[in-house]
Amino acid sequence: MAVFVFIEHREGKLMDISFESLSAAQKLNDTVVAVVAGENVSDLAEKVAKYADKVIVAEDPKIDTNNEAYTRVLNELIKKEKPKVVIMGHSSMGMDIAPALSVDLGLPIATDVVKINPEGGKIKVTRSIYNGKVLADYNLKNADTYIITIRAGEFSADDLKEKNGKIEIVDSLLKDEVADKKFVGYVQPVVGAVDITQADILVSVGRGIKDKENIPLAEELAKTMGGVLSCSRPIVDYGWLPKERQVGTSGKTVKPKLYLALGISGAFQHVAGMKGANMIVAVNKDPKAPIFSVAQYGIVDDILKVIPALTQKVKEIKG
């Protein structure tokens, strides 16, 4: 039995989620088959082979980084090789591809999975729901193949074992170009005036700040501490701060000396962008907010009271 791992790459680079998917696959103790599809992917395939028993390379310029094309290539390969499980990231790409494959092939799917528990021929998965406050186990309908997308950060690539698998090249599996969905190009993130990745101290605000009018309070604290103001995604969605200030999977990854999370719940998409900080301090009125399990120090209180108090104390200390 084989476990397929769909390898995600972009602009010539392997994505981190590809290694995490390989790690999830290795834990199932089956033959790990990595699938690398696209144009000029042989060097990527070599890097992946280190951690797989086999790499299937589907070289095809027609794929043109088009998610629909990837879906069709995977469809052909799954029909041919009948893997027991297909693993890919619950990433932007995985969300486009995996549900389509599930319907096309009539295969059960579980998305955003944090744990995979095989039980004989069956598969049980664990998902984290309700803002990370509840875990839920699900059984997948009996099938020859299961499709699973994994949550970023849950299957550590540090545990990867070396396998040095062989590389197998398959002929173009994509019969026609995709007519109704054409990849046009990438749009790079705008470079703003402030680079939060360079700051030693980040004072970061989330939805708990409640109102645009309260942003200057946090701005003053940041200034007093000699730091820079950053934020969670909703603050950018609301237009209260520019995109360049956003920390997380769809924003920036930061590694400051101090990350002060104010009114941020600690969703995994946020945590993925700041867990590398030397020191994390969280202020949140909810003692069960997931942010407190990544923070070293926590204060359970109203940020609108703590922020001015902290600004005052820091001023006193700095004299």
């Binding site: 972009r10 994505m15 998610n67 629909e68 619950h90 932007s92 790409m93 486009d96 995996a98 549900p99 389509a100 599930s102 319907v103 729901i129 803002n131 406050k133 875990l135 186990d137 699900y138 059984n139 997948l140 309908k141 109704d180 969905k181 054409k182 990849f183 046009v184 190009g185 990438y186 749009v187 993130p189 101290i201 939805r207 501490m225 995604r233 909703p234 950018v236 999977t249 769809s250 719940s265 020191m279 301090v281 969280a282 909810d286 407190f292 399990s293 923070a295 120090y297 926590g298 204060i299 359970v300 209180d301 109203d302 703590v306 108090a309 005052q312 104390k313 820091v314 200390i317 700095k318």
Partner: protein
Amino acid sequence: MDVIVCVRKVPDTAEADVMVEKSGKDIEKSRLTFTINEWDNYAVEEAIQMKEKYGGTVTVVTVGQKDVEDVLRRSLAMGADKAIRVDMEDPDDAYTLANILCAVIKNQKYDLVLFGAQSGDFNRGVTGAMVARMLGIPHATMVNGIEVLDGSIKASRELEGGLNEIYEIKLPALLTIQTGINEPRYVSISGIRKARQKPLEVLTPSDVGVGSIEPMIVLDKMYMPPPGKLAEFIAGSPEEAAAKLASILKGKGVL
């Protein structure tokens, strides 16, 4: 442009004390407040902005019991023309849900179908793309920008790290909408009252005409996450806690 938007009502759990029921099959919902799924609110707004720009209609669809109707009324108040509710318990299984939504949508006139990128309660992110496949139309998930062309659209998809990718997609198509794509308008109580005159159709599962569907995924049990490593909590009034924190930061050489 005729646009259909699928919406869901979800409990607000970001700030709530969430408890699992004794049965292990659900959470205790009596003390929670419910709202429209955040992603769906952006999707409804996007549809209404399209109507304002290009004409056409907006139809909102939900699957759920009577108590979810207020998300439809809210969407009608925002400017949708028509609402449809399939009167049944929201199925746990996204595949079952997708089959029902597909059966409803295929009998409607549409150029575009919008979903939220995910449900805030279960964060599955799977239903929209499944429905697209069942309808046999192209899709793009995680869309954060739409440009309407002649017979097609340009959709910007959000990738990781702030990167976007652009697809040109033929209509009819299905998109799942990411937060931040627009600024959803404010809905007043009086607006919701006025929208009571707009049509809200209630369909039974047999009207929809889907038989029994074998679920792809079945809940076994819900439980609280095991207690892990936690932060060292600093106690006291805001002033006391702030003073203690400031001295810890000084002690560690951060300040």
